[in-house]
C-alpha cells in the first residue's frame, strides 16, 4: 500500500502528514487524540540524514507535545550502503534514532511501529523494531536478506534454505514468520483505523516479543534462556 492510501485508511483525508524526500512526518487525528507520525517511504535507504530527520521529529514531540503517541511508518530497504555514511559513523546516527524512541517511551509516549511496505535488515531495527511493539500489513515484506544472497554468505544451497524455510520461520522472509517469532505483534487487516486504536490502547511498554515467540512456537528458546540467565 502506498503511504497516501495508508494515511487515508488510518486517519481519513484530514491528516497533516507530509513527505520530504523519503521522510514522512506530521500529525493526524485519531478520534480526539493527536498522533505524531514519522516514517519513510519509497523503500528509503536510511543514511545519516534520514536517521537525523526521523530523530528530530521524535525529539520535537517529546519536547513540545508531552504524552503524544508516536506512529512509526516503516518502508525501508535498510541502511544506506555508502562509504560516506560509514565514515560519518552511520551506526551512531541510527542508534541515536533508536535512543530517541527509547526516551519517548520513558517519557510517557506510546510508540507503535507499522511495517506497511518493506522492512529490511539494520534499517528496520532503529526505525521500527525499537517501538513498544511493531505491527505489519499482511502484504508487507520483512527480511534480513534474500535467500540467494543468504545462500552465498552462508555457503548453504538455496534449495536447502528454501526447503527449511517452509518448516522453520527462522530463515524465510515474510511477515507471518515474524509474527510467529514475536517480532511482529500482529497483522493489521480490514479496518486499519480500528487496528491502530486497539494497538495504542493495548500495547505494553515492556518487551513481550520473546514471550510471544515462545507462545506462538516460532522462537522457542529465547524466553527460556533469558529467564535461566536471570535466575542463575
Amino acid at each position: 500500500m502506498n503511504w497516501q492510501d495508508l494515511a487515508t485508511a488510518l486517519f481519513g483525508e484530514q491528516h497533516h502528514i507530509i513527505r520530504n524526500g523519503d521522510v514522512l512526518s506530521g500529525t493526524a487525528q485519531l478520534q480526539d487524540q493527536t498522533i505524531a507520525v514519522v516514517g519513510t517511504t519509497d523503500h528509503a535507504s536510511i543514511g545519516v540524514e534520514i536517521a537525523l530527520a526521523q530523530a528530530a521529529v521524535v525529539l520535537d514531540t517529546i519536547q513540545n507535545y508531552p504524552g503524544r503517541p508516536i506512529l512509526l511508518l516503516v518502508d525501508t530497504q535498510g541502511q544506506r550502503l555508502r562509504h560516506r555514511d560509514e565514515l560519518l559513523g552511520i551506526n551512531r546516527y541510527m542508534a541515536h534514532m533508536g535512543c530517541c524512541v527509547e526516551l519517548a517511551r520513558r517519557s510517557g509516549h506510546k510508540v507503535v511501529g507499522l511495517v506497511y511496505d518493506q522492512a529490511l535488515s539494520g534499517g528496520f531495527i532503529t526505525s521500527g523494531l525499537i517501538a513498544d511493539a511493531c505491527y505489519a500489513l499482511p502484504e508487507a515484506e520483512i527480511r534480513v536478506m534474500r535467500l540467494p544472497a543468504m545462500a552465498r554468505v552462508t555457503k548453504i544451497s538455496e534449495d536447502v534454505l528454501e526447503a527449511l524455510s517452509v518448516s522453520n520461520p527462522v530463515f524465510a522472509p515474510g511477515v507471518k514468520n515474524y509474527v510467529a517469532m514475536g517480532g511482529i505483534r500482529s497483522l493489521w487487516e480490514g479496518d486499519l483505523r480500528a487496528a491502530l486504536t486497539t494497538a495504542l490502547a493495548d500495547t505494553t511498554i515492556t518487551d513481550e516479543r520473546a514471550k510471544d515467540g515462545a507462545l506462538r512456537g516460532g522462537r522457542t528458546m529465547s524466553a527460556n534462556v533469558t529467564a535461566r540467565v536471570v535466575a542463575a
Binding site: 545519516v48 540524514e49 537525523l52 528530530a56 525529539l59 519536547q63 550502503l81 555508502r82 562509504h83 560516506r84 560509514e86 565514515l87 560519518l88 559513523g89 552511520i90 551512531r92 546516527y93 541510527m94 542508534a95 541515536h96 533508536g98 535512543c99 527509547e102 526516551l103 520513558r106 535488515s121 539494520g122 531495527i125 532503529t126 523494531l129 525499537i130 520483512i142 527480511r143 534480513v144 536478506m145 554468505v153 552462508t154 548453504i156 536447502v160 527449511l164 522453520n168 527462522v170 522472509p173 514468520n177 517469532m181 514475536g182 517480532g183 518487551d207 516479543r209 520473546a210 515467540g213 522462537r219 528458546m221 529465547s222 527460556n224 534462556v225 533469558t226 540467565v229 536471570v230 542463575a232
Partner: protein, 297 residues
C-alpha cells in the same frame, strides 16, 4: 607482559579483564545451551553459542560481563546468543553490578538464523537501555579482529562508554557488503588501510564515537574498563538534544569529506598521514576530537 586482546579468545579476554580467579560463568558450555537452528543446516553448533556471560569482579567491584567469540560464526547474534545477552542485562537490574561490560566482536545478525537474530538484536538494545535507565553503566570493549558491525554496531552505540583499540573496528555495513552493492570504487574492501581509516579505533576516537583509545593489550582494556565503572549516563532530553546537535554538526562539518584524513585535518590534526603510525597515547594527547559536550542548540 603485553597480551594481544585481538588475538585472544573470548574467554581469555575475560580473564585479562577481571580480577584473577573471580569469574562465575552463567550457562557455560557444560549446560550445552546451543543454537537449535544450526544442525538442520549442517553447521556445527557451539555449546556457548559464541558468547560467554557471567559475573566477576573488576578492581574489587562486582560486574557482569559478556564476551563474544569472533571465531564462532563471526560472533553473529542468533536466538540463543541474543537471549544470553538479554538475560545478562535483565540480571543486572536484579543484582545491580557496578557495570555491565560487553567485549564485543560480532558481524551483527547471524544470517543462519536471520529473522531470530534481527529480533534478538532489537531485544538486546531495549534490555541494554533498561540497564542504563537504572543508572548502571554499560561499557563496550571493542578490540577483536572481526570488528563490531551491523546490529552489534548499533548496540555498541547505545552504551554509555566505548573503549577501542586501534585494531578494533566499529561500523554498520561491512566494506565487503558495500563493495558488492555499489562497486569497488565506492569502497574497496581489500584496501586494508582504507578500511581501518574508515572504521578503525583511531578514526572512531578522533570523531568521538569511541571514548577511549587503548593499545591492543588486555591490561590496557582492563584499566580503561575500571575507569569507566562510574560512567553511567541515563538518557535525558538534554543529553539527546546535545547528541542531536553534535550529529547534525558533524554532517555540516564533514559531510563532504571523501576520506578519514580529510576529517582529521579539519579537526586540526596537522599531519593526518602520521595518525596511522601513532601510538594510542600519542593520539590521545593530540586532543583534536569532535567535542562530545556540545550544548544543545
Amino acid at each position: 607482559m603485553r597480551q594481544s586482546f585481538a588475538e585472544s579468545t573470548a574467554r581469555e579476554r575475560i580473564s585479562q579483564l577481571l580480577d584473577a580467579g573471580l569469574f562465575y560463568e552463567i550457562l557455560g558450555p557444560a549446560q550445552r545451551v546451543s543454537s537449535p537452528h544450526l544442525a538442520q543446516l549442517g553447521v556445527p553448533a557451539a555449546f556457548d553459542d559464541g558468547v560467554v556471560i557471567g559475573s566477576g569482579s573488576l578492581g574489587g567491584r562486582p560486574v557482569l560481563v559478556a564476551s563474544q567469540e569472533g571465531e564462532f560464526m563471526g560472533g553473529g547474534v542468533g536466538e540463543v546468543h541474543g537471549a544470553k545477552l538479554v538475560g545478562l542485562f535483565q540480571r543486572a537490574l536484579v543484582v545491580r553490578p557496578a557495570a555491565v561490560i560487553v567485549i564485543a566482536e560480532s558481524g551483527g545478525v547471524r544470517l543462519h538464523e536471520a529473522n531470530a537474530g534481527l529480533i534478538a538484536v532489537s531485544e538486546v538494545m531495549r534490555a541494554l537501555l533498561d540497564v542504563r535507565a537504572a543508572g548502571i553503566a554499560v561499557v563496550m570493549l571493542i578490540g577483536g579482529a572481526n570488528g563490531c558491525f551491523g546490529g552489534m554496531g548499533l548496540i555498541a552505540r547505545c552504551a554509555d562508554h566505548i573503549v577501542m583499540s586501534d585494531i578494533g573496528r566499529l561500523s554498520m555495513s561491512g566494506p565487503e557488503v558495500i563493495e558488492s552493492s555499489n562497486g569497488v570504487e565506492e569502497f574497496d574492501s581489500r584496501d586494508r588501510a582504507l578500511v581501518w581509516r574508515t572504521t578503525g579505533g583511531k578514526h572512531r576516537y578522533l570523531t568521538g564515537d569511541a571514548d577511549v583509545l587503548v593499545e591492543d593489550d588486555g591490561d590496557a582494556f582492563r584499566k580503561a574498563a575500571m575507569e569507566a565503572l562510574g560512567s553511567a549516563k541515563p538518557l535525558t532530553l538534554e543529553s539527546m538534544l546535545a547528541e542531536h546537535a553534535l550529529l547534525s554538526e558533524r554532517v555540516r562539518l564533514f559531510g563532504d569529506c571523501k576520506d578519514a584524513m580529510d576529517i582529521w585535518r579539519r579537526l586540526g590534526v596537522n599531519h593526518p598521514e602520521r595518525v596511522t603510525d601513532m601510538e594510542a597515547d600519542q593520539l590521545q594527547s593530540l586532543a583534536h576530537r569532535q567535542s562530545t559536550d556540545l550544548e544543545p542548540v
